[in-house]
Symmetry: C2
Subunit: 294 residues, 2 copies
DNA sequence: ATAATAGTGTCTGTCAGACAATATCGT
DNA sequence: ACGATATTGTCTGACAGACACTATTAT
């Protein structure tokens, strides 16, 4: 029997013989929203916010889900993510990063669905959709995500962490709990995240959102990722607030300024005067900062 | 018109209406192999090694590729990775971590293929396959991966890094170059990796391998991932060698010992005497070390 | 004795956390 | 003056890099 050439092989290859899963992308779009403060002296409160869409059809009808959808055959995963983002937020050029691909068998009741989650960061001034008005199915949710308990089981070389995630805005409150278990039981490191309870959140998106926040918290410490959430000009206090709400802890001003000093460039502009206090200098992101580890 | 219930919806849902991509998993299996040293005094040389399979059929016939394959409809991505690993290496319980999902349109000439890459670490003593003998299509390749040049283009807010990857063993040498470009041109951080040239490596696997080594280098600095490459008992010099070959640089003994001190437990065992030098204590991994950031 | 590895001590600079002090604004 | 934020200085302890020194072994 004659061997096939590669061209012949490709010509006769028929992928439709095999059953295939569907592939989707899910978008985690974060931004920082301001909450005006009534006290004329005090600064605005910033909130870390996530975009969710209310599901119009089955399954999980009426629940909130990450924006996303099926990929087309003629676009890459990244392109699909960009397209979805454009469709949902009408924004073209923003920070986008692949997070993780979820592939559990039963994660979608319709059919087998593999989903790649993407993390996207937008500065509030780029936002055209002011999600939250009556007609819209898209809304921004404030995020409250925190570790609530730790369970150590030395016998089984296991430690579990319970995290609570609350997503809320003027008219909605949805929440859930996830358990992250790490174990050396089998002689090697193993990680496993499960949804303990989830109210109002479709699919396994609670898990996806939690992972996205984890990644954001992690990366803000050692990359310049936070600047994607800032306007072109910003005060150091604004920057610090962004770090604080993402890390969910207060930072000391002097230390913070030292730490991010190499990431910013001082300008001769000043912030608009708002209250009875010293006006602050505006800074820009320093694109040319030395990046470590390369 | 009456609205459907979720059950009715699911019953009538037919996913076969849509065209779907194929989904595969690709495995990066790393281990540390010893190279006996002829000098009776000197220690063995350790090599970071990667498992590759020679492709028997089209496409890329005869070239080397990562082990992997199509996922089944009744198994999760992780389960598919474990199954492939078992099939290729006959090892069940080892460290496994999802790396990244590759979704370019043309990455496989047969059809549209999305592939999730997994990183796996094995200690050499668990290996049953001694890949490398004549008949086998699986072989271990020594890794030499290094940054060869940096090009800064301040005008365009771009920096490119050229990396060279060489994979070799007794009878094979394959190699390639990749370019990692990071850019702030559009106002936000963007990363892009392209294959400059690739000799003997199938698909986009050169890129996948490079990313896997990057991740390994990164994670070894702040996790205990390296211990998956060690036997149960090891000397601190062995451990240091593993760090050195992964990081591709020499470390100072005293500093290294300080750094990993909390990750190991001293035993009262000693290494087998090998040459004309002081015998070394054996250590075990400390499962209960405090992990930071949680 | 020698050549190699095993293991320890310590100086230095950097950097993060804590805290104190001063500056500047609108009311 | 007051109450808020803006900005800078400095003490401290932890830690990483560099280097020097001692200990132990088979030949």
């Amino acid at each position: 029997m004659q061997e096939m050439s590669e061209q012949e092989f490709l010509k006769q290859y028929d992928s439709s013989k095999y059953e295939k899963p569907s592939v989707t992308v899910d978008m985690l779009v974060f931004t920082i929203l301001d909450e005006k403060n009534s006290n004329y002296r005090k600064l605005d409160n910033k909130k870390l916010s996530l975009l969710l869409i209310r599901r119009k059809g089955h399954p999980y009808k009426g629940m909130w889900a990450l924006p996303g959808g099926f990929i087309n055959m003629d676009e890459s995963l990244d392109e699909a993510a960009k397209r979805e983002l454009k469709e949902e937020t009408n924004i073209n050029d923003i920070y986008l990063e692949q997070l993780y691909t979820y592939g559990d068998v039963d994660r979608d009741p319709r059919t087998r669905v593999i989903s790649s989650a993407y993390l996207s960061l937008v500065s509030a001034n780029k936002l055209e959709i002011k999600a939250g008005d009556d007609a819209s199915d898209a809304m921004w949710f404030n995020i409250n995500y925190r570790l609530v308990s730790t369970i150590s089981d030395k016998e089984n070389k296991e430690t579990s962490y319970l995290y609570k995630l609350e997503l809320s805005n003027n008219r909605e409150l949805i929440e859930g709990t996830i358990k992250k278990k790490i174990s050396y039981k089998k002689g090697y490191y193993e990680e496993n995240t499960t949804i303990v309870d989830s109210k109002g959140i479709a699919f396994d998106h609670l898990k996806v959102i939690a992972y996205g926040i984890d990644r954001l918290r992690n990366k803000i410490e050692y990359t310049d990722i936070a600047f994607n959430l800032m306007n072109e000009y910003f005060t150091l206090s604004e920057l610090q607030q962004v770090y604080e709400i993402i890390l969910n802890k207060e930072l000391l001003k002097a230390n913070f300024r030292r730490k991010i000093n190499h990431l910013v460039i001082e300008t001769n502009k000043y912030s608009e005067k708002k209250g009875g206090y010293r006006p602050s200098k505006l800074f820009k992101f320093n694109y040319e900062h030395e990046r470590k580890g390369e």
